[in-house]
Amino acid sequence: MMNKFTICNWLVFSFLLFNSCTKPFDTPPENNVALPNANTTIRNIKLLHVKNNFEKIMDDFIIQGIVIANDKSGNWYKQIIIQDESGGIVIRMDANNLYTNFQVGRKVAIKLKDLYLGDYGGVIQLGMGIDNADPNNPTLLPIPMSLFDKYIIKGSFNNVVAPKSVNINAFTTNLQDTLQSTLIQLDNVEFSISDIDKTFADALNKQALNLTIKNCSGNTIALRSSGYADFASFKVPTGNGKLIAVYSIFGNTKQLFIRDTLDVNFQNPRCGNAGITKITISELRNIYSSTPFVFNDNKLITGIVITDAANGNIASNEMVVQENNNGAGIVVRLKEIHHYKLGDSLSIFLKDGILSKENGILVLKNIDSSAIQINANTKTIEAKQMTIQQLKLNAKLLESNLIQISYPVLNGSVWNEHMIISDVTGTINCNTLLPASFYNVNLPSQPIKTITGWLSFIDTLPVLYIRNLNDVELLPPNNSNLSNAIYLNTSPLVFNFNDIGNGLPTGCFVYTNATNNSLGTVATFNVAKTSWGNTSGGFKNCASALSLSSSATSSQQDNATNRAIALRQTSTGGFDPGAAFVLHLANTLGKKNLQISFQLQSLDVNSARTTNWVIEYGLGETPNIFNQVPVTGNLFTGNSQFSSQNVLVNFNNLLNNVGSEIWIRIVAKTATSGTGSRPVSAIDDLVISWND
C-alpha cells in the first residue's frame, strides 16, 4: 500500500538525483614545459639572410628568445618580435590578438626547420613560405595559426629584457645592424617642436605617422606609429626624457616603434625652451581684437613660407606663412632682414611678438630670427583655386592665403603697381613692388592659364601679390587644341558652310553624347552630299533650305551650292539627346560684345518630332561647366516643318577679354518630343561679330 510518506520519499529522491550528476573539471597547471634548448642564436640565423632573398631553413635549428613587442597596442599587426643576447627578429604570425599568448617577457623557443627568412624594407623576418601573388614583389608569408604550436614553443612569463642605452646616432640601415629589432633606450630626447601639437598617428584615417625625435644637439630619428595603435589619438608629450623603443628601418629610413606610451617618458624640461604650447595661425588671428597685442607667454605657431623674399615682391624683413593647405596665413615681420625661403616649414615662437593691424592687414611683428626654427624645406602649400568674384566675396577670410586664378587677363603692359587682372567674373589689383626683380618687365603676350599669389589688402582694397614670374603659368603656345580653334582677327567672321564637302571649317565641330558637364564625344561629319530624306543618323552635308523648296528632288539638292551642316537624329548613337554643333574660340583677348547669328533649319517635312536647342558656352581646355545664353529667335526644329530661322546670340560682356579657350555650342540637351521620325536639323550662314 502506498502512503504519503512513500510519495514524499519518491519526490525527494528524484530531486536529489537531479542535482548530483556533474563533477567539476580540474584546472590545468601553469604551463611550465621545459623549452627545447637553443642550438644557435638569433644573430646567426639573421646572418643567413641576403637582402631581398628568401631562405628556407633546412636544418634543425632552434633559437630561444624573449618577446619584446607584440600586437597588444595595435602598433604591430600579425607579428611579434623576440630578442636574445645576440639580437632580435620579427616573427610574422597569421593571427590577431597574438599578445594574449605571446606576452612581452614570455620566453619562446622556435624550431626553425622549414621556416623561411625574408626581409621587409630591410627588416629581417621569420615566416613560412613565399607569397608570389605579385611576381615582381614576392613577400614572406606569415606562419598560419594552426601551425603556431608546431614551430613556437611557449615558455615562462615575465622575463626581463633590458633596453640597450644608445646614442641617437648609433643606428645604421645595414641589414645586419645588431640593433635592428631590439629594444633600445634613448636618453634626453624630445619630440621636435614642429610635432609637439601632434598625435602619435592619424587615428581617424587609420594612417601611420612619422614624428621626429631629437636630442638637444639637434640629431633626429623618426618615431613611427600605426594609425591602428590604441594610442594613435594621444597627443605626444612636450617634455624631454627617456624613450624605450624597438629599432626598425624601412629602406633608408631609420625608425623607432614603441610598444605603448609607457615607453615614452618625457617629463623633464625641453632642451632650451620649457613649456611651449602650440596654437594654430587661425587661433593666433582670433587673438587680435582692436589694439596691438603683445605676447609674453610661451606660445608657438607653425607654418610654411608662401612668399619669396629673394625676388623682392615683399618687404625684405617680411614673409607670409600659411599653416597648411586649408589653414590660415599671417604676415610675419622680423626685426631685421631675413633669409627664409619659399617653402620653408617654420616654428615661430611668439614671445615678445606683437600682433597688430597695419594698413588693413594683420601682422605679427617684432619677431626675432632666434625665435624661428626651420623644421623642413621645400614644403608646398597648394593655392586655393577660385574666380575673382569668389575671391572678393571671401576676401576677409582669405587674407594672407595663397590664391590661384584661372584664365586671367593681365591689363597693362609691364609688371608694376598699376596692373589689374581680370577674368570673366571681375577684376582685382595685382601689384608689383618697386624692389621686385621683375618690376617693369613686360607682361607676357601669350594667353595665361593661371596666376598665383597671396591675398593682401591696401586698407580695404584687396590686392594680389605674385611671388615671382613662376606664378604666371602660360597656356602652351603649341596647344594642339588651339591649333584648330577660331582666332578672332577681323569682325565679322562669316561661315557660309558651302565648302563643307571638304570638311568642316577650322574651329567648327559636331559632337554627340553632350551633357550638362561635358562636351561629349567628337562625332564624324559625313562630307558626302546627302539628301534631306536620308534616314540614317549622323551629321552630314545637306543642301541649305535657303535655296530650295521642301519638295526639291535629290538631284536638285545635290546640285545646290548652298550647303548646310545637317543632322539627322536617331534614338541611338548619342544623338537624342546629346547632339551639338560646337564652335571652338582660342580666346577673346582684346575683344568685347561678342555676337553670333546663324540660320537654324528644319530640312525634312516628314519628321514629326521636335528637337529643342539651347546655346551655351564653356571655358578652358575641356570645360565641365556650361552657361546658357539667351537668344533672339526660335530654337526648335522638326515638327513636320521645312524652315530656316535666324537666331541671334548676344553675349554682351559675358565673353569680353577672356584669355582662355571658349567653347560655344548649339546643343540638343533634351530628348526630342512627339512621335514619328526625328527631324533633320541644320545650321547655315553662321556669323561671329564683336567690337575691338
Binding site: 500500500m1 502506498m2 510519495i7 519518491w10 519526490l11 529522491f13 528524484s14 530531486f15 538525483l17 537531479f18 542535482n19 550528476c21 556533474t22 573539471f25 580540474d26 584546472t27 590545468p28 601553469e30 604551463n31 593571427a95 590577431n96 590578438n97 594574449t100 599568448n101 606576452q103 622549414d114 613560412m128 613560405g129 613565399i130 607569397d131 608569408l141 598560419p144 595559426m145 594552426s146 601551425l147 604550436d149 608546431k150 611557449k154 612569463f157
Partner: protein
Amino acid sequence: MHYTWLILLLLTLNYPYAQTISDTTNKVIWENWRQIQQQTSDELGLIALDDAELADENFNAYASLLNAGKDVLYNAAAFNWNIARFSMRGYSKNLFTTYFNGVPLENLINGGNLVNLWNGLTDVFKNRELVLGLQQNNFSFGNLGTALNVIVKPNTQQKLSIINIAFSNKSYANRNSFTHYSGKLMNGWSFVYSGAWQWANENYVPGTGMKNFASFFSAEKSLSNRHFFTLSFLGNYNNNMLAAPATEELMLLSNSKYYNANWGYQNGEKRNSVVKRTIQPIVFMNYHWQIDAQSFFKIGLLTGINLQKQSGFDWNNVPDPRPDYYKYLPSFQTDTILRNAIENYFSNHPEALQINWSNLYAVNSNNKETIFNVNGNINESFTGLRSRYILRDNHINTIHFAASPIYQKVFTNNWQLNIGAQIQYQQSHYFQSVNDLLGGDFWVNWNQFGNSTSSNNLNSIQYNLLQPNQLIKVGGKYGYDFDASVFKLSRFLQVVRQFKKIDINIAEWLGYAQLQRNGRVQNGLFPDNSFGKSKQLTFLNYGMKLGFTYKQNGKNYFNINLLQQSLPPNFFDVFISPKFNSFTQEDIRAVQYKSAELNYFKNTNTLKLRISGFYTEINNLSKIYTYYDDDIFSFMNNELTGIAQRHMGIEFGAEWRYSDQWQFSAAFVFGDYSYTNRSKATLRVENTAAIIQRDIVYWKNFKVPGSPQKAANFSITYRPLRNAYMSVSTNYLSDNWIHLNPIRRTPRAIQGLDAKSLAFANIIQPGELPKYMFVNLFAAFQLNSPKIRSIKLKPFWISTGLTNLLNNQQMVSGAYEQMRFDFASQDISKFAPKYYSAFGTQFFISTSIKF
C-alpha cells in the same frame, strides 16, 4: 554492468526457451511481438544529435515518431528510418504534437514538443493513441502531421512490477528502469511509479556521452466509478555531451566520419565544451467524469518548468577556440606549401584538431587587466585576471501551463458530438551565464561585436546599459536576457455521423494567439528598443476539417479527408533578433495550410494494408536565418517571408501473416516536397538592424530539405517457436536534401558568372545526400525465470537488435549548407556544408523481468 551481462548469459544457458503458453491465440502472440518491438523502439530511435544549430534549421522532433502505433508505415519510420531524421510527409516539427491524457505538450515558442516524456520511461507510457494525418480523433482538432496522445490511467493496470535492463553502444551504454503498478486498491486509489537511469561515459561519437534520470509517479482515485481523479508527476534530468557536425574536409583530416570538434583533453581527460543539461519537472492533473454511458467530460491541466542550458565557448578579442574554425584549416590557405604543411601537421597531431584546453587556461591566467568604471560607477576600478575565453551557458528557463477540457456525447441515432478547448501559456526566459572562467577571475559584460559597426556610439559594447562594465563571476548572468511568451487559446467542435456504409465527420476550430518579447536588459546597440515589453502580436486563426469514409465491408475502407487551417508563425520567425531588440519582420502573416488525403484500408486476419495519397499546400511561411559574418564583425539575420511549399506523395504499408512462423511486411513512401515560389529575403546586420539587402530567393521547385522524400522498408519476421522472434529488415532511403542557404540562390550570388559554367551550377544547385540501404536485425525470446525463494517471477523477455548491420558509414543523418557565402570568390568550398554522419553498426540488448 559487465556482471549483468554474465548473469544474462548464464540465464540464457540454463533456461532454454522452450516454454509453451496454451491460452493465447496466434493473433495475440503476434500482437505480443509488436509490443516488444514498440518497447525497444525508444532505444532504436533516440537520437543524440539535438544540436542548437540544427534546431534552428527546423529539423524535426522525433518524440512523436518514436512511438509507433499499429500503422505499418509508421512502425517502419519509427524503428528504421529515423536514422536519417525521416519525417512523416516531410512536415516540420510544429505539425506533430504529443498530448498527455488529452493535454497538449507543445513547445509554443519553437514548435515541436516541449517535454521529452520518454528517457527510459517506456513501460509507463506504452498506452498511446496515434492519429495519423487528417484522421478524425476525439481529443483534439488534430494536426497535419501526427497527434499522439499518451494515456496514463493507473486504475486500468493490474498489479505488476517491471525491471528493465539494457545495454547498447549508441546513445547510452546502460539503462535500468523500474516500474510498479499498484493495481486497483480497495479504497479506490491506484498508483504507478517508475524510475529510469541511463548513461554512457562515451558514446558512439568520441567525446559525447550522456546521463539521464527520469522518474514518474501517478495516482488515480475513483469515486463511484464515475469520477476519476489522476495526479501525475514527471521529472527528468538530462545531461548530454553533444557532437558537432563536420565538413568533408574535417572528416578527411581526422580520418573519421565521426569527427567531433566539441572536445579536447584537459589533464588527460576528455572534456566536451557543448553540454546540454535539462531539468523538467511537470505536474499533470486529470479529471474524468463519466456522466453516463454515452457522454463524458474530461479536463486535464498540466503545469511545469523546463530548465535548459547548453554550454559553449565565448571569447573576447582572442583567436577562436574552436578547432574546426575555417581559418585554421588547410583549405583556408591559398599557398600550397602552407596547405600541405597544415595537412601534415594535423595528420601527425590529431590533438590539434581538438580543443586545447590548457592553452585557454594559460591565456586567461596570464591576462591581468584593470577595468574602469565598474558597474557604471565612476572611480570604481578592478584589477585582476580577465578571462578572454569562457564557457558560457545559454539558458532557456521555461514555465508552461496547459489546460484542455473536452466533452463528448454520443446520441442514440449515431450522432456524436465533441466540444473541446485548449488554453496554453508558455514563457521562456532566454539568457546567458558564465559556466566556467577557465582560470581567470572575471568576465566583462561587453559585446565584442558591438564595437565594429557603430564606432560613434560609445555604449555599443555594453550588453546592459543599466549596469555598464559589469564584472561577471561564475554563474553570473551576462549578454542577452529576455523573455519570450506565447499565449494560445483555441476551441473546436466536431460532429460525427455514422451511417450503415458511410461515416462523415466535420470539425471546425478557432484559435487565438498572442506573442510578446520582454527585454530584461538595455542593450547598448539598441537602447531604445531592447528593454521592456514589446508590442503584442496577436493572431486569430481558423480551421475546417471534413472527413468521409465509405465502409465497403468490415475489411475494406475508403476514406477522404480535407483540411484548411491557418496557424500563427513561430516566435523566432517573427522577432528578428530578440537577443538584442524587439524588431519584428515587416510582413507578418499567419501560415496557411490546405491539405487533402485519400486512404484505402484493408484489414483481414492475415493482411493489414494502408495506401494513402496526400497533397498539402503551405503558404506564407516565414523563417529567419542567422549567421556570423567575420568580414563585418556582426551577426546577420536573413529574413525570409512568403515561402510556399507543396508536400504530396503516396504512402503504402502492408503486413502479411503468411503462417504461424512467417510474417512479411513492406512499407514505402514516395513523396515530393518542394518549394513552389520564390521567397523574399531581407538581409539585416544584427548590430544595427539596418537592412542592407533585399533579395529574391530563386528556389522554386527546389526540394524541401530535412527528411528523405522516398523511403522503403521490407521486413521478414520468423517465429521458430511460440515465444521467439527474429526479424530482418532492409531499408532504402533517398531524396534527402541538404538544408539550403537561401543567399546562394539569389542573383547576387551568381553575378558575373556564365550561366553554363560549373561554378554557376555549383552555387545554385542543391546538394543531395547519398541514397543508402541498410539492414537491421531484431530478435526477442522469452525465458522461464528461476524461482528465487518466495518471489515468483513471470517469464521474462530478452530482446536484442543490431542496426545498420553492414556498418554503412556513408550515411548522413543531417546536413546543412553554412549560411555564409563568399561573394568575393564565389567559392562554395570556403564555407562548405556540414554533415552529421549516421552511425555504423550498433547493438542493443535488453531484458524485462516482471513480477
